[in-house]
Amino acid sequence: MKRIELLAPAGNLERLKVALAYGADAIYLGGIKYSLRARASNFTIENIREAVEVAKQYNAKIYVTCNIVAHNSDLNDLEEFKKYIKELEACGVTGIIVSDLGMIDIARSVVDKLEIHVSTQLSLMNSEAIKLLKEKNVKRVVLARECSLKDIKRIAKVSPVELEVFIHGGMCMAISGKCVLSNYMTNRDANRGGCAQSCRWFYNLYDENKNLVNDKLFTFSSRDLQTIKYIKKLIKYGVASLKIEGRMKSEYYLATIISQYRRLIDSIYNHKKIKYNDYIKEMLKAESRPTSHGFYKGKITCNEQIFDKTAEIPLQDFVARVLDYDKEKKIVKIEQRNNFTINKPFEVLSPSGTFRLEIKEMWNNDNEKVEVAKHAKEVLYFKSDYEFSEFDMLRQVK
């Protein structure tokens, strides 16, 4: 049986390397054009080529998102789009993720080998729609986040193509691709990469006579998705790929979340006993929003929504990224990410796991002793017998 794929996002090359180091089997990323998430750094064709080369070292795959809902102007230069698709195939990209049916047809007319995956932007929630899209010679469908676990099971039983499901990350309150709040409220096109997330704003709610319902503010804001307890079932159902959302997310977030799902998936395949709470506890260290199981149980209750402004917490646990380790001198070179003091204990997050650490002494580039790291991205050093690697991260234990 083919092992399930753990699919992670990457907003730039650095995050791609982190995602692979922490156990992703495949990465999805956006190109400069044709991709949602206009604010993510996004990859030039040279970057994509490099990404494919890096992925090869991990025996991993690269998928490129071409998931805008295109207007005519986006496809005015049809030859440019065709050339881009051919270039993606030529540089070893495994597949493209597309939501626009016209773009699917055009892409299919110029490449054979490149897989076409139907984006969640097309909001597919049933097996009949998937059967119809088989006519378009697509390899995989990313199911809508509105599917329950039961839906996924039923669809997987009869689907003629591979299925990919979201397992973690931000959730649109609306059906993907069916919301243009941002267009109307900010003139930024939600379906072409400019979503202003108006659903996360707070509103006064009035009744039909325009009387204020309550002094409590209203928001559409959804809790983020977290499905650690459902992975075993998804594997059993024959889902092909488990997708983590977040091309805009930080390297720390990616490292934390990917490492936990990696560990869990491996434990399931190795029939190890699973303590779900350990995974959840670890993932909470990287979450800035409360999480829930989304639509997995079928019904959306108050527990799947956010109601107040204080629910979103800026994370400051991640304090430094390891840049280098001098094996001879046993000196670790780090780069500051959030203020920290050496008087409190640390935890090291590495692709092989986590462990506690104490830093007794730390110094900067001028060899001055530093107790409180308060300068953004300051390069600092400390001594350690543990052999650090490039992608290790430090967080302060509160």
């Binding site: 005519n72 267009n183 707070f202």
Partner: protein, 297 residues
């Protein structure tokens, strides 16, 4: 020009003797953005009355269907197939596939909530078996022109009424009321962001939450362009409006279309001025494309 009235909660009866050409009526349990829908027996009756008046009836099954909806629809297909209607309005490709597998010969129209924004996408849908495709309201007039010319006689437009700007399957209003332990009295609500003037309509029915733009949309002022482009199907939606308002709209549109077709452009211009004086509406993206980020301005 086929002027189609989406009857919504007002129903079709008050408009049987108006100059409307066709009616859109929702099928109970299978439509959204409809505040009132009919069951199969009622559809039969409506169909009879409507067709006696030489008008068409389109049945709306425009839900975004989950696996359960598909199962329920399959069970009803035999009856649906036999309904004496002129066509179906759908949003979900799964429903199209069921129609195809059941060799349905009716006209199938793709609803405007599917956001079709380019000529290739429209063509692709037509190739899959759609007879007419509504275009997104978020594209510019030039795009409508180009898409229509690329897909002749296959394009429909939403012309008048309140229209959704977001669909959700989350009962967010219900949850808000539960969370703050407030007794809910009304179905329809308004939202207003603190720093903005606009009141956006929001409506939740059976786990489907729809947000509407704060103003009505209207293509009346560019009716001539639309006819010149080759559009031959436009929808007026009765949602949240009163019977007399709809009757007025129908008169304006019918008269406007006639003036244009008879090349009485001065008369149409006068009518257009009257329309602008009488109603407040907006077509935010018809002449101004939205941008992606601030730097794209």
């Amino acid at each position: 020009m086929e002027i189609v009235l989406n009857t919504n909660e007002l129903g079709y009866l008050p408009f049987l003797d108006t100059n409307v050409n066709s009616f859109i009526i929702g099928l109970k349990h299978f439509c959204i953005n409809q505040r009132y829908a009919l069951n199969i027996r009622e559809i039969m009756l409506a169909s009879d009355l409507i067709q006696k008046k030489q008008k068409k009836i389109y049945l709306s099954l425009n839900i975004f269907a989950g696996e359960k909806d598909i199962y329920r629809l399959k069970r009803k297909m035999k009856k649906i197939k036999e309904l004496p209607v002129n066509g179906f309005i759908i949003s979900d490709l799964g429903i199209l596939n069921i129609f195809k597998e059941n060799n349905l010969t009716h006209k199938v129209i793709l609803d405007c909530q599917t956001y079709v924004t380019n000529k290739y996408s429209a063509k692709s849908l037509i190739n899959l078996g759609i007879d007419k495709v509504y275009l997104s309201k978020e594209i510019i007039l030039n795009d409508i022109k180009e898409i229509t010319s690329f897909n002749k006689n296959k394009i429909a437009l939403f012309a008048q009424g309140y229209y959704p700007i977001s669909y959700s399957k989350r009962p967010i209003l219900t949850n808000y009321y539960k969370k703050f332990n407030i007794k809910r009295k009304k179905e329809l609500h308004y939202l207003k962001e603190e720093n903005r003037e606009q009141y956006y309509l929001i409506n939740e029915m059976k786990n489907n939450l729809v947000v509407y733009n704060h103003r009505e949309y209207s293509l009346f002022s560019c009716l001539k362009d639309i006819i010149d482009i080759g559009i031959n199907y436009i929808e007026i939606n009765a949602l949240f409006l009163k019977e007399n308002e709809i009757k007025e709209y129908l008169s304006f549109y019918k008269e406007g279309v006639n003036y244009i077709l008879e090349n009485k452009l001065d008369e149409y211009a006068k009518l257009n001025e009257m329309f602008k004086e009488k109603y407040i509406f907006e077509t935010p993206f018809l002449y101004n494309q939205s941008f992606l980020l601030k730097e794209d301005k």
